[in-house]
Symmetry: C2
Subunit: 289 residues, 2 copies
């Protein structure tokens, strides 16, 4: 044995971008996440493989975020890449939550405070990019109040002149959405739920997909899902949270709830997005797979 | 509506590296792939999430391949990155098959002829890298004949001086393995089975994971799996192929076979590796997800 030729370089550390991509993949792997696509569940036209392609496609946008590109542009490019599959919206909200976290992590300062600081530094150009992102994929949103109709995200890039006229930054847009969007609450609220859920992922035992499913259920039991509220109404969202609480406390079980939610069309997508954000933070903090 | 601010850049095309990574993810998603980890099956300590982490971890090595790095080095780095999960060997063989294909695709000439030409241009340094890759992960291999003991891959980097003394390139090593390794046969045989399977993926109907499972079964029914032969013996490998043929012809069913193979410890891993290679070629040729 000689020393020289036997040298083997150690495995590379996973990068911030790899953690973000892996977070997306582990999120959809965790099962059961009642009402969502996961390893054991598909929806009608939205299937597991679309999430695989979405995660891979989002990568160039996540790389932009890691390289210091504006958050809006990085997000828009991530969504554009994500959209290159036939299932539709797979990870729009997850990417929205991830992008400021990726920027913060790439800066070496992954805290909720820092992520919201970065979010607060967003510009009108970022807001324009955010609206452009809606051109790539259909995202379920509610009708806005009449005075906000010109800023309906479904107008996509057509709303950009209004944004510019009013001088709204992406952070301003998020602040106006906190009532109806759990991701906007993270943006403006130091990503409190994402970081708390990351702590749970790190402290639980067992395989990561099992922890993921557990944390998803805890998040849902804790607060009504804003995506469900948007699509099915506030009462349904509150009832879904109550049912999640029962499943968590053993008065029901998550597998049955998953079947029920899929049958009833209850899709707690925002809770899944938060779970992806939590997985990213947990991976950055040493979660082993 | 003004033209200027409403401009939306189209979604980016998936890169060669993205296709390679997606191929790894879609391979493990396809179910049932009897005896292998897939969307519906785990093995004892080797689980679905390990394949997610393996695919993400392999990426820097795949990027090296796409950027024209030596095939051996790109492969060794891909395996090193892949190994950063606790399941063990997830995609060693798949990466070995993918690397020359990725180099060929990045050159704009993805044919089996070209991939084997590239393989034939490999050097002694590539062979050394290949041996180093075995340092990162345990790979099931047979005892070599006595005269080849100094080149037992399980010696890892310790075999490098022998390789150098004998002037063996990675292609030479592959040529010596064609009897016992289906991936070595691809390397030296213009990737015939990978490309034929890619054609099948493109011509079948249905969701990609279903096509993947079908093509896996066709490959297994067509030829005994060399990984099974290595681990369980030639007779078991031949019987497994016969059973796959029966399942394919309707005298059994793939789901039952999956349960049986898992229970019996029959793991046609080489066939899964070929399926990943086929998915990569099919994605490059326009397979829609």
């Amino acid at each position: 044995m000689s020393d020289e030729p036997t040298r083997v370089d150690p495995p590379p550390e996973r990068s911030v971008v790899q953690h973000a991509e892996l977070a997306l993949l582990l999120e959809v792997t965790g099962t059961p996440k009642p009402g969502n696509v996961d390893r054991e569940h598909d929806l009608d036209d939205l299937r597991f493989e679309h999430f695989m392609a979405g995660a891979v496609g989002a990568r160039p946008g996540l790389e932009l975020a890691s390289d210091g590109e504006r958050v809006g542009r990085a997000f828009e490019r991530a969504v554009a890449g994500m959209s290159r599959q036939s299932g539709g919206n797979t990870q729009f909200g997850a990417l929205l939550a991830l992008v400021p976290l990726v920027v913060a992590a790439a800066d070496g300062d992954l805290t909720g405070e820092r992520a919201t600081e970065l979010a607060a530094e967003s510009t009108v150009a970022d807001a324009a990019d955010f609206y452009r992102a809606f051109e790539h994929v259909d995202v379920a949103v509610d009708d806005p109040p009449a005075e906000l109709e010109p800023l309906d995200v479904r107008r996509g890039a057509d709303a950009v002149p209004v944004l510019e006229e009013r001088g709204l930054t992406l952070f301003d847009v998020m602040e106006r959405s906190v009532e109806v969007d759990g991701i906007a609450r993270e943006w403006t609220g130091e990503f409190d739920r994402s970081f708390a859920a990351a702590d749970r992922l790190l402290e639980l035992d067992g395989a990561v997909p099992d922890r993921t499913a557990r944390v998803f259920l805890e998040l849902l039991a804790d607060e009504p899902d804003t995506f469900v509220a948007t699509k099915e109404g506030r009462a349904t969202a509150e009832a879904a949270t109550e049912r999640a609480r029962e499943a968590l406390e053993g008065d029901g079980d998550p597998w049955t709830l998953a079947d029920e939610f899929v049958a009833e069309g209850i899709n707690p997508g925002t809770t899944a997005d938060l779970t992806a954000a939590a997985l990213f933070v947990a991976l950055e903090r040493g979660l082993d797979v």
